[in-house]
């Protein structure tokens, strides 16, 4: 199947992601920030779909929506919203901010001008139908060991969280 209106969707999704990102840091209400963050993450999922990576897009939706849910609960239960709205929102670290923005800007300009030679002309055209299967074969075939170590690390983190959260086991 030929993609339809690719530039339109790309600019729309990127615009939404940027808009969500800006709203995330400028909203005073933390719940609104979390909502804007969801917008960004969903737009990213759309971009993954455009890159013919449906599995990554699906996982992005499931994991980040789940993650944001927890964030939401933290905001609702732990953060005193009336208190937050009175406090200063930015910590005015101008110098560090300018340095970081300059470095990032240089990187962007460099990639934009030199990108032609840095990256191959066209990415490898993976068949969309087999994307999930290929990821599975890589994870459970070539990178089995690393994958299992990562899962073990997560397990340790879960047990650690439970031990710290529960006073009496």
């Amino acid at each position: 199947m030929q993609p339809v209106a690719t530039p339109f969707f790309f600019y729309m999704l990127s615009g939404l992601a940027l808009l969500g990102g800006i709203l995330t840091i400028t909203r005073r209400n933390p719940v609104h920030s979390a909502l804007a963050l969801i917008l960004t993450l969903l737009a990213q999922a759309g971009l993954y779909l455009m890159l013919y990576a449906p599995f990554v897009a699906g996982v992005q939706i499931i994991l980040y929506a789940g993650g944001i849910m927890v964030l939401f609960l933290f905001v609702i239960m732990l953060v005193n919203i009336t208190q937050v709205e009175k406090e200063g929102q930015f910590n005015k670290q101008w110098i560090a901010g300018i340095v970081a923005a300059f470095a990032l800007g240089v990187l962007f300009v460099y990639v934009y001008t030199k990108g032609q030679s840095l990256f191959p002309d066209h990415s490898a055209q993976l068949p969309e139908q087999a994307n999930t299967q290929q990821i599975a074969q890589l994870l459970y075939g070539n990178y089995m060991f690393a994958f299992e170590i990562a899962s073990l690390l997560l397990l340790v983190a879960i047990i650690g969280a439970v031990v710290m959260a529960k006073k009496k086991i």
Binding site: V4, V31, L35, V59, I61, I62, A65, I76, T132, Q133
Partner: protein
């Protein structure tokens, strides 16, 4: 243009895969209409069946046997005053029902009503359905928080805790079904909804009967978790009316409330379709192994028409039993007319070209309808769980059994 429309008819795939925008749009409209009718029918059936379980009559006033009650309800909701609490967060309050409805309807683009009767066939179908339906809890939490009131907030917190914990058990059950779909020569499974049904077809068994009792246990886990996912009795803690008035949608009224209602029922249909697709063979007709041959194919293809004829016969029977008072004349005529329409649909479904195309949709819908009846049945028979019991069931019963079934399925699959 006509060529473009006609070109799809020769293809053997879903419109989304064929890239035909026109037919994809037609399917979307059809599914949307069908869902709306199903929700209306569910509304009436739920009240009627619950009433009969409790030896009542249920709605009887609006139309014969209360058939027009859902329409009257919908009209009432539309003209009801739409109240927004003064201290509510206006934007979030406004957007929450939209998110819930959008997610509930979006999942239907991958539901396979037949080998070609789906809007599209995604490579990540099951993942997409689980992911998008998990977004609906976001709408619920937003609704509860934005109402700026105690009961909705408690309802929303309960809802999110419940959905997040049951999603895990649900996911494990789904994974064991996906694992079963990988038992072929190539050794790779699929997450595509159509692909999973085709795997059941080629393996010659529905996954509920596969590796008995492993498939059955996974199915039961999913069937329990999906009731909790959709916030239905006996797991309807987020809207437990004796404790929380109406839970997260206490402050909603009129049209916004009806959106929550619509979303709840279409989410029920959506999770039922996942269960049907993964374990009950989707669009495949029952007994396709035992009762083979052209005669049985013919017999099973007559089922859709016969169903509609039976419904029509019930209408005619009720028409005869209507009171003979002139006050009921219009209602009697209306019921007879409804019966005639049903009979005509039934007769059309007997025509061979229609019969062959509608069969898949019919079997899928019948299986989903069975689940919808189960939902009503649960609500009529089970008392509501306490919240700590609900969490205990989710984390200490369903989750370990789910993992055990997953490991056992993998082991058995490797050995055979």
């Amino acid at each position: 243009m006509l060529e473009y429309i006609r070109s799809y008819l020769d293809s053997n795939v879903t419109p989304g895969v064929a890239g035909n925008v026109f037919w994809a749009f037609v399917y979307i409209v059809l599914i949307f209409l069908g869902l709306s009718i199903a929700v209306i029918a569910m509304n009436w059936l739920e009240r009627k069946i619950l009433a009969h379980m409790q030896i009542r009559l249920g709605p009887m006033r609006v139309g014969p046997h209360g058939l027009l009650q859902p329409i009257a309800d919908a009209l009432k909701l539309l003209i009801k005053e739409d109240i927004m609490p003064a201290e509510a967060d206006k934007f979030v309050f406004w957007v929450a029902p939209l998110i819930v409805v959008l997610t509930a309807f979006t999942v239907f683009i991958v539901v396979p009503f037949g080998p070609t009767h789906a809007v599209t066939d995604m490579n990540i179908g099951v993942l997409f359905m689980l992911g998008v339906s998990s977004l609906s809890v976001l709408g619920v939490v937003m609704a509860g928080w934005a109402s700026n009131s105690h009961y909705p907030l408690i309802g929303a917190l309960r809802s999110s805790a419940q959905m997040v914990s049951y999603e895990i058990a649900m996911g494990l059950a789904v994974v064991s079904a996906v694992l079963m779909s990988s038992l072929n020569e190539r050794g790779t499974g699929t997450l595509s909804m159509i692909g999973i049904v085709q795997a059941q077809q080629s393996q010659g068994t529905w996954f509920i009967f596969k590796f008995f009792p492993l498939g059955l246990i996974a199915f039961v886990i999913f069937a329990i978790a999906m009731v909790a996912e959709t916030n239905r009795a006996p797991f309807d803690l987020p809207e437990a009316e004796s404790e929380l008035t109406a839970g997260f949608h206490t402050e909603y009224s009129g049209f916004r409330w009806s959106l929550f209602f619509l979303a709840e029922y279409s989410a029920m249909i959506a999770v039922s379709s996942i269960a049907v697709t993964l374990w009950l063979g989707g669009w495949l007709r029952p007994f396709s192994n035992w009762l083979t041959g052209s005669t049985w194919d013919l017999v099973f293809s007559l089922f859709p028409g016969v169903t509609f004829l039976i419904l029509a016969a019930m209408c005619f029977y009720s028409t005869i039993r209507m009171p003979k008072h002139p006050y009921f004349r219009i209602q009697t005529m209306g019921l007879a007319g409804f019966g005639v329409v049903l009979a005509l649909i039934g007769l059309v479904l007997f025509a061979p070209p229609v019969r062959d195309r509608v069969q898949d949709i019919y079997w899928f819908s019948v299986k989903v309808a069975f689940f919808m009846y189960l939902y009503i049945w649960y609500r009529g028979t089970f008392p509501r769980y306490r919240f700590d019991q609900l969490m205990k069931v989710g984390w200490k019963v369903l989750l370990p059994i789910g993992i055990a079934v997953l490991i056992a399925t993998a082991l058995v699959g490797v050995m055979f």
